[in-house]
Amino acid sequence: MRISFAMSQESRIREINGKQQEMDRLSTMIASGKKLLSPSDDPHAWASAMDLKQGLRSIETYEKNIQFGLSWGEMTDLQLGRLSDLIGQAKDIAVAAVNNAVPEEHSAQVEGMEQIVKDGLEVANATLDGRYLFSGLEDPTPDKPFQLDDATGLVIYNGDDGSLKLRTGKGVNNESVVNLNGQEVFKPGDATGDILRELWSLREAVKANDMDATRAAISSLQGSLEHVRSQRSVLAVRLSDLERRQEALGAMRLNRQERLSHLEAADTAEMIVRLQQKQTAFEASLRVTAMVDDLNLLDFL
């Protein structure tokens, strides 16, 4: 085969161009840390990578939701704990009032009860980051969720019975309720179990030294204490469920990240070795070009 002048020039230029392109590609991979630069590199892997990224994104959302649910639940539990303590204290005061009605202690008992009613209302209107814990979904601003008429003991609830639902996973059972609404915790307006009203009634009974009413309040407060305890256990089950989901998601995320990096991430060490190989080959092409260009019959005549 004859090698023409134009041909040998062209094929050397083609070689140099080709090597430069490969080097450019490799250095882009190293710089970006990715071996999958465009869908055309590997259409199937690209689609899988997109799927994994979507999965990771939703896991992140679930984790955010769970984190929110956990802090909401923990705050709710804290407030319910306080409520139990308040009811317990109220009961103690009531028992003390019934058993030894010493006039000197009476004013202290009334004072204690007044503080407990105030604190109870404060618990009912507790907030987390500016949101009321026990108002359902409604934000009753400018009113507070609970209002207690100090003269009549009437409790008004401005919230609703909405459930704060969050998505905490895939599939059918993917919605978790994270709140307890004021209706189910404090039972405002109910004939029995209206906690705020019961505290108020006890205060009035202690104030009036009405022993029968005080005794009655003790037994109904016992019921309320049990109700709060049952609400706390509902909450505890939810919290442990959320924690379980959180753990499972952590494992899933790790697995997906691993698969994604397997599909997408460039192995820097390998890429650098390959780049060095290309560099050597490129230098060889340049050297050959220089050598061949010097070859001319004229030099030997």
């Binding site: 085969m1 004859r2 090698i3 023409s4 002048f5 134009a6 041909m7 020039q9 062209e10 094929s11 083609r14 999958l36 465009s38 869908p39 055309s40 590199d41 590997d42 259409p43 199937h44 690209w46 689609a47 990578a49 997109m50 799927d51 990224k53 979507q54 994104r57 939703s58 959302t61 955010k64 939701n65 929110f68 949101r131 359902g136 979904l137 409604e138 934000d139 609703d160 909405g162 704060l164 639902k165 969050l166 998505r167 895939k170 599939g171 993917n174 919605e175 001319n296 019959l297 004229l298 005549l301």
Partner: protein, 447 residues
């Protein structure tokens, strides 16, 4: 009559012959880098001999003709491979432009906007009455609809103006090349006589044929009078575009409305509508247009289904419009519903991201992100295919180019050796003249 004067004559013609040969060498060297140039060679023939009492005496050599080194078979194959390569190259270029605007790996573009859209509804779920969360939903919805619209519009511009314009320009170029080939045919016929080839005009014509082969696949054959006949045929239609000096005033015509290319034969006799020329830049452009149109249809299916599903889940319009062309958000869609309603609807919408829905394009039901990934994966597959094919044809073209150059290309070393050879012959002939003159002088010196 044999004698010293005949020797002088023979040596003189040798001097003249070698000068012509050296000029041919020089012409070859001057065109060494031009790949359309075919190396030329002066063919020597023995001059007629004289009959003397001693028998037939030779009278030297004459240059019979100057020929080009060409192989029509290899050249036709080379042009076929050039058509195929430029088809795939053009297709790959256009597809990579389309892909650059569409693909996003989930960090930018539509799939990122879609992810942010789903996330915004989840954030709203945490606090349905929060102004920031509502604003987030509003912005994410607007961003998503904008993203879909601009991606579609970019593809639309690519297909309906850029590619269309390029097809028009390519056709104009093909028409002027066909005209040039017909003209060169005419000039070659005028300038050639038996044994005298218009080599340099043939080089120009070869160059024009090569340029035409890049645009569209052609078949050509040389006639006895030196002209070439250029045909386009693809199995179903066969149109003779150039015959001798004749070609239609505009052999190719592109109808911008029907998006069809019409081919007219040299005498205006036959014409054929060719929807997709297979091969060449023209073929690549039409194939790219079809592919991108298909992606746009899929994007429309995606947008249409998204609009329907989201609006259905929300109960009232979140998005307006019907497809990717006109999708937009419905203003104030967040006003109205109560906190409880909003919470329920946000849950419905957020759950859509895991729902498998039908996109009405055939195939199985898929999640939104999978369908989007499917479009990208398909685009990537098409591009990969075009790139692989282009690489294959480039290798084939290089191989055939090598073969063609092996026959027609100029090798400087070879020319140099020829030059030396002719120089030696020239010197030898000059020596003969010198010697003959000395002999003649010797005779004249006798008195």
């Amino acid at each position: 009559m044999p004698g010293l004067s005949l020797t002088l004559e023979t040596a003189k013609s040798t001097l003249l012959n070698t000068q012509v040969q050296i000029q041919v060498n020089s012409h070859n060297i001057a065109n060494a880098e031009n790949k359309s140039y075919a190396r030329q060679k002066a063919i020597l023939g023995t001059s007629p001999a004289n009959l003397t009492h001693a028998g037939w005496i030779g009278t030297g050599a004459t240059i019979e003709t100057i020929v080009q080194m060409r192989d029509a078979y290899i050249e036709q194959k080379l042009m076929n491979s050039m058509s195929a390569e430029s088809h795939q190259n053009t297709l790959a270029t256009q597809l990579s432009i389309a892909l650059a605007g569409f693909s996003d790996s989930g960090e930018t573009g539509i799939s990122q906007a879609l992810g942010a859209f789903w996330d915004s509804w989840d954030a709203l779920l945490q606090d349905p009455e929060d102004i920031a969360a509502r604003e987030g939903v509003y912005l994410a919805s607007r961003n998503l609809s904008q993203n879909i619209r601009t991606t579609y519009a970019d593809l639309d511009v690519l297909v309906n103006s850029q590619i269309s314009e390029e097809i028009q320009e390519t056709i104009d170029k093909a028409n002027s090349l066909l005209d040039r080939i017909a003209n060169l045919n005419h000039q070659i016929q005028q300038n050639e006589s038996p044994g005298h080839y218009a080599n340099d005009l043939r080089d120009s014509r070869y160059q024009a044929l090569k340029e035409l082969a890049e645009i569209m696949p052609i078949q050509y054959g040389e006639e006895a009078n030196g002209s070439v006949t250029v045909r386009y045929s693809n199995g179903t239609v066969s149109v003779t575009l150039v015959s001798g000096p004749q070609a239609s005033p505009s052999p190719l015509h592109y109808d911008t409305v029907s998006e069809e290319v019409t081919l007219t034969s040299f005498d205006g006799g036959t014409s054929a509508a060719e929807e997709s020329v297979q091969g060449g830049i023209l073929g690549g452009l039409t194939a790219a247009r079809e592919d991108i149109q298909a992606y746009m249809d899929r994007l429309n299916a995606f947008a249409g289904t998204l609009i329907d599903e989201v609006n259905g889940a929300y109960g009232s319009p979140v998005f307006t419009g019907s497809d990717a062309r006109d999708v937009d958000i419905s203003p104030d869609f967040l006003d109205g519903p109560t906190a409880a309603e909003l919470s329920e609807r946000a849950l419905q919408i957020s759950n859509l991201q895991e729902k498998k829905v039908s996109f009405g394009t055939g195939g199985v039901d898929a999640r939104f992100i999978d369908f989007l990934g499917g479009i990208q994966s398909r685009m990537g597959g098409d591009l990969q295919e075009a790139e692989t094919q282009a690489e294959f044809y480039a290798t084939l073209r290089t191989e055939l180019d090598g073969q063609q150059q092996s026959i027609s290309g100029v090798s400087l070393d070879e020319e140099m050796v020829d030059l030396l050879k002719h120089q030696q012959i020239y010197q030898a002939a000059a020596k003969i003249i010198q010697q003959t003159l000395e002999m003649l002088n010797r005779i004249l010196d006798i008195r």
